[in-house]
């Protein structure tokens, strides 16, 4: 209920979605740098795949030589050769 009001108020006031929602903000620069804000936790990680839990469901980064460059409580930076990125798990309502 609260989330619905929050979203509609945000729409009326023209807030950017990352301020209103709880979902992650993902910034990919080129193929080598990825910045994820507002993630919940790291589910699994290796050099080939990194899986993160977010409010909008799990996200996958696949590639080669992936490395978590900086890990903060709500923000993380990934570096490596990225080949694909996808959402999974959470159902779209």
């Amino acid at each position: 209920m609260f989330k619905k009001i929050q979203t509609s108020v945000g729409e009326v006031l023209d807030f950017p979605p990352d301020v209103v929602g709880e979902g992650p903000k993902i910034t990919i620069t080129g193929r080598r740098q990825i910045m994820v804000e507002n993630y919940l936790s790291v589910l699994n990680f290796s050099e080939e795949e990194i899986r993160l839990a977010t409010a909008e469901g799990d996200i996958f980064f696949r590639g080669k030589g992936l490395m978590l460059k900086v890990i903060l409580a709500t923000e993380l930076q990934i570096e490596g050769a990225l080949s694909s990125f996808s959402f999974g798990g959470g159902e779209i309502e």
């Binding site: 936790s41 790291v42 990680f45 050099e47 490395m67 978590l68 460059k69 890990i71 409580a73 993380l76």
Partner: protein
Amino acid sequence: MFDWLRTFWYGRILFLARGEQLARFVNLVSRDGIILYHTQKSERGMRAQIKLADFRRLRKAARQTHTRVHMVAKYGWPFVAARWWRRKGLLLGIVIIASVLTILSQLVLSISVLGNKNLVSTDVLERAEKLGLKTWVYSKELDLNVIAKALQEQLPDAAWIGIERHGTNIQIRVSEKIRPSIPNEAGNLVASRAGIVREIMVIDGTPLVHEGETVRAGQVLIKSPEAYLSSSKGTPPVSVARGFVRARVWYSAEAQIPLVEDKVEESGRVATGRGIKFGSRVIMLTTQNSTFEKSREEVISQSLKLWRNWRFPVEGITVNHIELRNLHIERSVNEARQLAEQAARAEVKKKITQGVPIVTEVVKVLSNKFEPERVRVEVETYEDLAVYANP
């Protein structure tokens, strides 16, 4: 750049974590506010970097997830500092050596005399020591030009004396007066100047002049006694004439001072500019041009000698702009005459051997109406003329 500096300053630890729940371990750690850097999974486990201060805080998360953490490498200033702190003696030694070198490099450690043939080095050094130039004194406090001038006055056989500082070594460079040498008259006493002989005292040798005789410079006064040729082989023993020949000697000098004179003189004001010289290019940092209307430039360049004759290509330059001013002088006849007399007397004094008593002094005015004031000073002394032909 600054990240790298910060990383170095705080210190980093590279660790290896092994366990089944590495992802949970990462989540717990980041929730504790610890930042992990360069986290990467490998076959042996998870490698990551962490700030030195956060390393102890990993324990809680490690315990909860049964993860074993091993330190792999340490990097940064705290570890370097700790290593140096363990080697306090070495550090202290370096500081002591540096300070001793700094102090010693400002002292005079050795003095050498160069270019002397007849002058004795120890004599020059002794005189220099009396003037303050000795070992173990601060070289900055010595005014080498003044000492060189004073030394030159004390040593009449030196035509020029220059003192140079090369680090802790001070070189006294002597250029001696070249006196005529007459090999045939070795051991004979000859007249140092022309004069009328008044008194002869022979200790050893044969006198060749008599009292009342006029002698010229270089004339033999007392001949050395014949070498006693007892042995036909080998060099004959050196025989030397000894004695005194006192004589009246005349000296004279003339000087002229104009009544009206225009000349350029240094006012005493100096503007100093500093700059850098690179090859033939000169970049002045301060006082680019002379601030005076009329001036003379004195350029001093300081270059860094690296090794042998390899010099640092950039030189420091100091330019002294010395102010000049025009001087128009008008003198009365009396003033000009007095000045001319002073100048002539000073000239005569230079010629007279030091310490010789002056018997009479005559001042003659030679000027007529149309010429500048001309004065001639004639001095008569009574002195010992006999000197050895070859010193």
